[in-house]
């Protein structure tokens, strides 16, 4: 509530600041605007920035840190028998206080001390919100008045405003870097916790995957084992099947569209492939599980083969279909970048069109096509929904495409859905798998993008 009010106040103050700055700037030169260093609206922006920015920063910092700070104060006020416990119990205590404070019934009678703490938490939070409202408004008004006083005809308002805007632009472009850093840090941090329990070598080279851990020590079958080789093998198997579908079809489509098809035909064919690329992966997953899998199974039984209902083949084929447009559009770019003079030279020597393509265009485009395939492989490895819905969950170390296999992404998805204890090796192993997935796809992408760049430079 208070926060919304504060935001409204801030918006109002910036608007007022803008008007004030503008009118004061023109007033300071008696309406002869040419005598100002900057046009009046820049003075307006200047005052508005001073009114809005510091208060907004305060607002963000305060709201991010308020919950934590208040919780620390509340915990410090509790008797020692509550707080002198291990991290896990402390976490439970925190959750209890929060639940009570938000009025969520926990189903058991709360300890009076905890109930009091919860009440204190609510009081402090509301006090904090109110003081934020007061302090935030004061800061905004102070900024406004400060900036307003500084307005003179010589104030370099434009330069200052533009400087602020440039800094904002730089910060925005750094978000991408921050995202990467966030991904790397979060994966590394959680994966380290996993590798503290499970030896990284066992993880990378072990051949048995069964992440079920015992809840109690006396439970039967308690040893979880985290050998990820079956997952890597399963991922590679499905990726290989997908590539066996996507590369020939995608490459031949690209060749047909760029070398053979008339412009009219191309305007029809291109959107068809784009539609394939635009269909959400969950739809492909549904298609793989409910249409392709029974079809493959029926076909296999017709041939007297034993096909699992969650065979790697059906997931791989559908994934291949999903990747066709990816391969074809990348190869299309690459083939179009081959200079026409190479083709003309080949035709001049009497080669047919297909000979020119096979012996001249494709070799010239090879680095780019390889890069396209690498990007496609990276996409196939990282694809989640199709394999989660259509491939199995049993870690099966096999090269038989008719059996069920599981993949890295499937395991990440199933390990983290539902179960949310962050400290069990079972959930943490998902981050270990995520780290491997990230590194592999990153290397593939980096190499492929570098190859494409080199290739473009060659013919530009």
């Amino acid at each position: 509530m208070q926060l919304t009010v504060l935001l409204i106040i801030l918006v109002l103050l910036t608007v007022i600041g803008f008007q004030m700055g503008r009118s004061r700037a023109s007033a300071s030169v008696g309406g002869r605007v040419v005598e100002l260093h900057s046009v009046p609206s820049y003075h307006g922006f200047y005052v508005a920035l001073w009114a809005g920015l510091p208060a907004l920063l305060l607002f963000v910092l305060w709201t991010v840190s308020e919950g934590w700070t208040v919780m620390q104060i509340v915990l410090a006020g509790l008797p020692e028998r509550f707080t002198r416990v291990d991290d896990q119990a402390l976490g439970l205590l925190r959750a209890d206080i929060l639940n009570l404070a938000h009025g969520i019934a926990t189903g058991r009678e709360p300890d009076p001390a905890v109930a009091a703490a919860a009440e204190r938490y609510v009081r402090l939070r509301s006090l904090g919100d109110w003081s934020l409202l007061a302090i935030g408004s004061c800061v905004a008004v102070a900024g406004l008045l400060f900036a307003r006083r500084r307005i003179t005809p010589d104030l370099r308002a434009r330069n200052r405003v533009e400087r602020a805007v440039t800094i904002a632009l730089v910060i925005c472009s750094l978000v991408a870097i921050l995202t990467t850093v966030g991904i790397v840090l979060s994966l590394l941090f959680e994966a380290m916790r996993f590798f503290a329990v499970v030896n990284p070598l066992d993880f990378l080279f072990g051949t048995h995957w069964s992440p079920q851990m015992a809840m109690r020590a006396d439970q039967v079958g308690s040893s979880g084992s985290f050998g990820a080789i079956p997952l890597f093998a399963g991922t590679l198997l499905i990726t290989a099947i997908a590539m066996a579908v996507a590369v020939p079809v995608g490459l031949m489509s690209a060749i047909f569209m760029s070398e053979y098809a008339s412009p009219r035909l191309r305007t029809w064919l291109k959107p068809i492939l784009e539609i394939l690329a635009g269909i959400p992966t969950v739809v492909y997953g549904f298609f793989a599980a409910l249409t392709m899998a029974p079809f493959v199974r029926g076909l296999g039984q017709g041939l007297g083969l034993d096909v699992s209902s969650e065979s790697a083949l059906s997931a791989g084929i559908v994934m291949g279909v999903m990747i066709i447009p990816f391969v074809s559009s990348l190869s299309d770019d690459v083939i179009n970048a081959v200079p026409q003079s190479l083709r003309d030279g080949s035709y001049g020597l009497g080669a047919t069109k297909s000979e020119t393509i096979r012996l001249v265009v494709l070799p010239a485009a090879l680095p780019g096509i390889v890069a396209a395939v690498m990007l496609a492989v990276s996409r196939a490895i990282g694809e989640t929904m199709i394999v989660t819905m259509a491939a199995g969950l049993t870690a099966n170390l096999t090269a038989n495409p008719l059996e069920a296999v599981t993949t890295v992404t499937t395991q990440i998805a199933t390990l983290l859905v539902g179960d949310q204890e962050f400290d069990s090796p079972k959930t943490l192993s998902a981050f270990g798998l995520g780290l491997v997935l990230f590194v592999v796809t990153l290397v593939l992408n980096m190499v492929a993008l570098r190859v494409v760049q080199k290739y473009r430079e060659k013919y530009d």
Binding site: S173, S186, S253, I272, L290, E355, G382, F431
Partner: protein, 432 residues
């Protein structure tokens, strides 16, 4: 004389070609080469054909599985709204009595239990709503249409076959007899399935809807758009118009290109570890979903915006700078407005991708059984693709049908968005 020479000149190449280019060997080789050419061409056509065929099969299988979900079976009952029973809120008993009255020949307990199963467990709530909306009907006789059970629905749509032996059929003979009787008197009919578009998830297929998921998706997309569009455009403007060419900006560029190719599930792990684990934001909330999606679509928007900015010719910038505009004024007054259609197109395509994305939402707990329609950014919610994922797992045939219908609706939204993008591109496209 001259004739002779001319003849000689003409004759010469002919004799050469006869010896070398018209030999049987040569024509055979030429035939082979032409055949290879035709084969190659056919392979190209086949490839395009396979891709188109797969698209047709994919869409065809979904439409053929799902179009029936837009109709749903209802049963007409003549209910007597007995005052005592209404006060006890025993609406199910009222409905059952009415049903027994319409099928009087079933009298034994087992038979009546079968009859009970014809009605949806949501039917009493329909009746209750009718009564609370209009209390004056208590004590009167009313004709109402209530939901039938999903198996009745599937039977009427022909997915439960009559000719299967009773033991293997999901509907026993008593139920089928009752359905036939009701159908003969027009007391059972299909109507437009408005439930699908007005409620949230349910365990009962006939009471399940996608409205909750659509609202969840919309909330998520709003957060995504509010974050990724300003940040993405600002980053693109900086990199394209202001950034010096140095190692830092190179790093940012490489980084953005790589980020665009990072698997989406990794963004889910990021959201789980950072937004849920570190910042302690609520699970299953559209706010977190939007944050994750924003990070995911950011590279797409940056790349698209940069392409659009690059397409604005340098002469525009030079003219603006020439009349004394500052670099920032040049960008905000001239370059950005001219690049706006391109940026908008890229944004819509990025949003369409975010709408269809599932995997990251699974990681942050938006995959949950949520009946209520979300009202705010921190309410528990699910999203349309996640709803599809969850329904696809349900064993009931009626859910398969609804999954396909939900897919059709999702694809409808995507077509709408992409169509808008194409329209904008066509309308505002400018060749310099």
């Amino acid at each position: 004389m001259t004739d002779l020479v001319e003849q000689d000149m003409r004759a010469m190449p002919v004799t050469v070609s006869k010896s070398r280019y018209q030999s049987a060997e040569f024509s055979a080789r030429l035939q082979r080469r032409y055949a290879a050419e035709r084969r190659f061409r056919m392979a190209g056509i086949a490839a395009v054909g396979i891709a188109s065929l797969m698209l047709v099969v994919l869409l065809g299988s979904i439409v053929s599985k799902g179009y029936t979900a837009f109709w749903q079976t209802e049963i007409r009952l003549e209910v007597t709204l007995d005052k005592a029973q209404v006060e006890e809120r025993n609406y199910m008993a009222i409905l059952r009595q009415a049903l027994y009255a319409q099928v009087p020949e079933v009298t034994d307990r087992a038979g009546r239990r079968s009859l009970n199963e014809l009605l949806s467990s949501g039917a009493p709530y329909q009746l209750e709503k009718l009564v609370t909306d209009n209390p004056s009907i208590v004590g009167t006789k009313q004709t109402v249409w209530v939901l039938a059970d999903d198996e009745v629905d599937q039977f009427r749509k022909g997915f439960i076959r009559r000719d299967v032996p009773e033991a293997e059929r999901r509907l026993n003979d008593i139920k089928i007899g009752a359905i036939d009787k009701l159908a003969a008197s027009g007391a059972i009919a299909g109507t437009f399935n408005s439930t699908l578009f007005s409620v949230g998830d349910s365990r009962e297929p006939e009471q399940a809807g996608i409205w909750g998921a659509i609202v969840g998706s919309a909330l998520t997309l709003v957060v995504t758009m509010l974050l990724s569009v300003p940040i993405g455009v600002a980053a693109a403007v900086y990199l394209e118009e202001f950034a010096p060419k140095n190692r830092w900006t190179d790093l940012i560029e490489v980084n953005i290109n790589n980020l665009a190719a990072v698997p989406s599930i990794i963004f889910g792990l990021l959201g789980l570890a950072v937004f849920l684990g570190f910042f302690g934001l609520p699970r299953s909330a559209p706010l977190v979903g939007g944050l994750v999606m924003a990070l995911m679509t950011l590279p797409v928007i940056i790349i698209a915006s940069r392409v659009a900015l690059k397409a604005v010719p340098p002469s525009i910038r030079e003219a603006a700078l020439g009349v004394g505009a500052s670099p920032l004024q040049t960008v905000t007054h001239h370059v950005l407005p001219l690049a706006l259609p391109g940026i908008l197109t890229g944004t819509i395509i990025g949003m369409a991708r975010a709408l269809g994305e599932t995997a990251p939402l699974l990681m942050i707990g938006m995959v949950a059984f949520i009946v209520d329609i979300p009202h705010g950014l921190t309410d528990s919610a699910t999203a349309l693709p996640v709803q599809i994922y969850m329904w696809a797992d349900s064993p009931e045939r009626a859910f398969t049908e609804r999954t396909s219908a939900a897919i059709m609706i999702l694809l409808g939204f995507l077509i709408l968005m992409n169509g808008l993008a194409v329209f904008l591109r066509k309308k505002f496209e400018r060749r310099w």
